[in-house]
């Protein structure tokens, strides 16, 4: 039987996969964002406030938190429209830090059962008790996380096969050429930013209710860097790429005792090696085409 430690690692993989998918979607469109942790954080706070302080049902809080994250991502997308490349990356990092530092100033507490509950600046936000109040076991919550992840994965696979998904890949390949095909990149960059913000937001609300305590420091730049690295390690040719990246980092490096204390060194080295030898990850576009062709031949045979 799976013990709670293993379940916690598995649920961690699920939640972090969502922010990795968020960063992946932007990478596909050619945008390197160091700021997806901000949308994860916005949704973590908003979703937790909705269930803990306002007594909203979890599903509504999840949609509210993620919707708010998507909206914030759209606004930041609008503000960063005219910049690209390194300047875009730095701008997303700056916005994310702005939001994280704002969370240090966020105090919104309500008295519940004689106790003040809610975000309290640097002290964070504890007492997010939805899973306890509803007697949800670790196993049940893990299943909930993977249910959401599966929905997102199915949605993203459908997106990749759609015309919109193709436009995202066109943008990632050559924005000017995409424009020359009669498409306005602005519209699609904003669309990608909103979807990516929403997906990161799903992870954020799930995270807050899983750990029952959040603080601004959790949503620091390292979370954003990791999210990006997952796609770059796993590959940008398929939606499964970032999941492979997360599994390698959290499922392997973090959970194997031999790497304890050295995880970041090994992970950083792995990213560097991958960028040199496989710049678009293990499952890059060429390998995905090859796998598809082999599968097709095998099927036909």
């Amino acid at each position: 039987m799976l013990n709670d430690y293993v379940l916690t690692i598995i649920s961690n993989i699920g939640m972090i996969s969502l922010i990795a998918l968020s960063a992946y979607l932007l990478l596909v469109t050619g945008q390197i964002s160091f700021g997806q942790q901000a949308f994860f954080g916005i949704s973590a706070y908003a979703g937790a406030i909705a269930t803990t302080l306002w007594g909203w049902p979890f599903w509504l809080a999840l949609i509210f938190g993620s919707g708010l994250a998507g909206l914030a991502a759209g606004l930041i997308g609008l503000l960063t429209l005219r910049i690209s490349g390194m300047y875009f990356s730095i701008a997303t990092l700056a916005f994310a830090e702005m939001i994280r530092l704002s969370l240090f100033k966020l105090t919104y507490q309500i008295e519940i059962d004689g106790e003040l509950v809610g975000p309290n600046g640097a002290e964070g936000f504890g007492e997010i008790r939805w899973i306890f109040d509803h007697d949800i076991s670790v196993m049940e919550y893990t299943l909930l996380i993977y249910g959401v992840l599966m929905l997102v994965l199915v949605g993203m696979v459908l997106l990749e096969r759609s015309r919109l998904g193709m436009i995202f890949r066109m943008l990632g390949s050559d924005a000017l050429l995409t424009r020359a095909q009669g498409l306005n990149p602005v519209r699609y960059k904003i669309t990608a930013a909103v979807i990516a913000g929403f997906i990161a937001g799903l992870g954020g609300t799930l995270y807050a209710h899983s750990f029952t305590y959040i603080e601004p420091q959790i949503f620091n730049v390292m979370l954003g860097v990791h999210s990006l690295a997952y796609g770059l390690i796993g590959g940008l040719g398929t939606v499964l790429g970032p999941l492979i990246g997360v599994a390698i980092d959290i499922g392997f490096l973090e959970s194997i005792r031999i790497f304890q204390g050295y995880r970041m060194i090994v992970f950083g080295g792995l990213v560097a090696v991958m960028l040199i030898f496989m710049p678009r990850g293990i499952l890059d576009e060429a390998r995905v085409y090859w796998i598809k062709a082999v599968a097709r031949r095998w099927f036909n045979a």
């Binding site: 015309r163 890949r169 050559d174 050429l177 020359a180 060429a286």
Partner: protein, 247 residues
């Protein structure tokens, strides 16, 4: 068809185009030639909306399209290839051509539908027909980055004409090619692409220009120095001087 009136463009201290008037007649292949730095690519970039002119007007079918963006000019019916080949290198050859057709559907919910998955999809048929025209049908499933240069040029041409544009702009379609490859691409343009279409070909290679163009315009130092039939234009002293220099 396309008319440029007194179009000028300045980059810093450099006057790339100065008061250029140009008229592209419908149903014919027009050529735009000139030495390096004469302003040909700037002119093409202005026609296709990549740059906006500083002064002057661009009329397309009588409509003022001055200052339109690249996506708008494509929607108006102008499609182009690029001097430095631009392809969606990580997509297949077929996907590259389908990419040009996507904007025909991007104003509706159909943007969320799968693209060209069934054999009877009209867009798939159009794309395959375009690949057949440029003899790339056998390479449809190949990742575009793996194509050699002459086939990349063909892919660019297929992607440009698949939308059936009113004006097809080919920017150095034989750039980087050997004489044999140039002759092959010239035949392809003359026999399969140009008939019944309005084309503007920008090229250095005079054999290709003489082979495919019925109308010619010459630029030098950002100014138009000659216009007319190829036979007539290529014999004009100012054109010879622009290419060969003074004695």
């Amino acid at each position: 068809m396309l008319e440029l009136r007194s179009v000028s463009k300045v980059f810093g201290e450099l006057s790339a185009l100065h008061q250029v008037d140009l008229s592209i007649p419908p149903g014919r292949v027009s050529g735009l030639i000139g030495p390096n730095g004469s302003g040909k690519t700037t002119l093409v970039n202005i026609i296709t909306g990549i740059y906006a002119p500083d002064t002057g007007k661009i009329l397309f079918n009588g409509v003022d399209i001055t200052g339109s963006t690249a996506d708008q000019t494509t929607r108006f019916g102008i499609a182009r290839t690029f001097q430095n080949i631009r392809i969606f290198s990580r997509m297949t050859v077929l996907e590259n051509v389908l990419a040009a057709l996507i904007s025909l559907n991007d104003q509706s919910w159909r943007i969320l539908r799968g693209y060209a998955k069934s054999a009877d999809d009209p867009q798939l048929k159009i794309a395959l027909k375009a690949l057949e025209t440029v003899e790339l049908l056998n390479e449809a499933g190949v990742v575009a980055a793996e194509l050699p240069l002459p086939l990349r040029r063909r892919l660019e041409i297929a992607r440009a004409f698949v939308r059936d544009p009113e004006l097809l702009v080919l920017d150095e379609p034989a750039g980087g090619m050997t004489p044999t490859e140039t002759s092959t691409i010239a035949s392809l343009i003359r026999e399969r692409i140009a008939p019944g279409r309005t084309c503007l070909v920008i090229e250095h290679k005079m054999d290709l220009i003489s082979d495919v163009c019925q109308h010619l315009c010459v630029l030098n130092h950002g100014e138009k120095i000659a216009e007319g039939s190829p036979g007539n234009v290529l014999e004009q002293p100012q054109v010879i001087e622009a290419y060969l220099g003074r004695d």
